[in-house]
Amino acid sequence: MNTPVSATVVSPQLRDPAWVSRLFWLLAAAVLLAPALVITEFKPWTLFEPETIKSTKRFISDFFPPKIETEFLLLVMREAWRTVAIATAGMALALIIAVPLAFISTSAISISALPGRMHALPFVLRQATRWLLIVLRSVPELVWALVFVRVVGLGPTAGVLAIALTYGGMLGKVYGEILESDETHATHALLRNGAGRLQAFFYGLLPQSAPELTSYTVYRWECAIRSSAVLGFVGAGGLGQQMDNSMKMFQGSEVATMLIAFMLLVAVADQASAWLRKMLA
């Protein structure tokens, strides 16, 4: 029989025992995060001060109407294409860095680790490779771009090299992790039967992980397109560089056109990557 429990008289057994800790963590989070608001000067109300609203209005109104002269549109298209080219070339170089390093760093094809423990030398080599990949990817591509703009001058080359280094580290590290997290039954069976590391890689590991590897690569290519537009702002060529120029010249209408073009580009890349990944699944 059901006994209706009144709201005022709750027996101790029916009280949620977890609520004290829940309340504690909620308060703890608030106490810990509050200083962050101070440090980051989080003052949203300044957005609505009359002075701010006035300058925002001026900035935005400059955007209209977007510039749609044929000559300018052609320039935007050319620069958008250059952005894609920077991203793709950068990715190709990144793959040249990432694939061998991922192959060296993954323990899934270790022969000495087959009966238990990996030997010392291969262990050190794998760890060193892993650290190299971490160093490569922990330097933001923007910093690499600033470095390379000094070295090779303004233009797309700096962007390509910047993407190659950061993405090489990123891809290499994640490839290594994918190879290690996947089912290694087939690979280890081949190694145990006397196959070499590369043979085991191509006959066991790669067919097992290929879809995941390709899908991640396509996703990164899409990220590289967005990133190469940002790199343009430090002079590494492409749409970003033009956008930076127009912004400095207070040509709001040009900026608006390029923003729209960039959004379209990202949308198309997003669709293409989604379609490619669906094909591979």
């Binding site: 238990g116 085991a200 191509f202």
Partner: protein
């Protein structure tokens, strides 16, 4: 290949070093070309013994001699060359799902192929007739160009066995080759294995759950709790010995779990009924 093991004990690499070994000290010799079956209830150490023989598991104590060579005294590269002489077929077929059957079978040739030749074989398979012949013997002639994930569990298992036929190994170590096969396929598979091993001059050691199939081998080894219970010609393996070997595991002897534990989930439609 001649095998001699002397007081060999082994444990799983992840097991604590003080723990009881899965395989207690065991002494055994196998002549070249001999064929023998290992039986015993689940957890008896059958797979551990096969792994130790395949140099997949380092002995905790004792030693293993393959053609009078202690493989664990060899440098890693030479040990890997020696592994090319050993063919270990794990119970779960080690086949990547997206690979084609032809590639999965030809992977058995890798140890005797150069890297370049094996890469070229990925581009255009190099020994198609050989792979087809191996598949044919296991009743899989039509599956040459199929993808592994289109096969049933039993077909996959036989593809895994067909690999042995294209390898150049002189010791075949086969773990529960019949676990997901129906009785007629099982008989065909075991016939093919024994006949081909004889043709290749290879020593064949296979662990089996099906005692009646094991009776076809001349020599049977009974393992229980990691220890050798008997090592006898099959004619001397009596009902009493089997009953002692499978005491408290009678359902395995009677075939209730003859289907193997792992493959039932994957392949629920095959339910072999072994008549005894």
């Amino acid at each position: 290949m001649r095998i001699a093991i002397e007081g060999l004990a082994a444990r799983h690499p992840a097991a604590a070093s003080g723990s009881l070994p899965a395989l207690k000290p065991l002494t055994l010799t196998v002549a070249p070309g001999e064929q023998l079956a290992i039986i015993g209830p689940s957890g008896a150490g059958k797979t551990t013994l096969l792994h130790a023989l395949a140099c997949a598991l380092k002995p905790a104590t004792g030693r293993l001699l393959l053609d009078d060579i202690d493989p664990w005294k060899l440098p890693v590269s030479q040990l890997q060359t020696l592994r090319g002489q050993l063919f270990l077929a794990p119970q779960a077929p080690p086949l990547p799902p997206r690979q084609r059957v032809i590639t999965a079978v030809l992977a058995g040739r890798l140890p005797r192929q150069s890297l370049l030749a094996s890469m070229a074989s990925l581009f255009y398979p190099s020994h198609i007739p050989e792979a087809q012949a191996a598949l044919e013997k296991f009743g899989l002639a039509g599956k040459l160009w199929e993808r592994v994930d289109r096969l049933s569990g039993g077909e996959r298992q036989r593809v895994g066995l067909a690999r042995a036929l294209v390898s150049s190994a002189s010791l075949w170590l086969v773990d529960e080759p019949l676990s997901s096969l129906d009785p007629s396929r099982a008989a065909q598979a075991i016939d093919t294995l024994t006949r081909s091993a004889r043709e290749h001059g290879a020593t064949l050691i296979t662990s089996l759950h099906q005692v009646d199939v094991a009776k076809r081998f001349q020599r049977i080894i009974g393992l229980r709790d990691g220890a050798l219970q008997f090592d006898l010609p099959s004619t001397e393996v009596t009902h009493e010995r089997l009953a002692a070997l499978y005491a408290q595991h009678e359902e395995e002897l009677l075939g209730a779990t003859a289907n193997g534990e792992e493959n039932t989930a994957e392949n629920p439609h095959i339910a072999p009924l072994y008549c005894r």
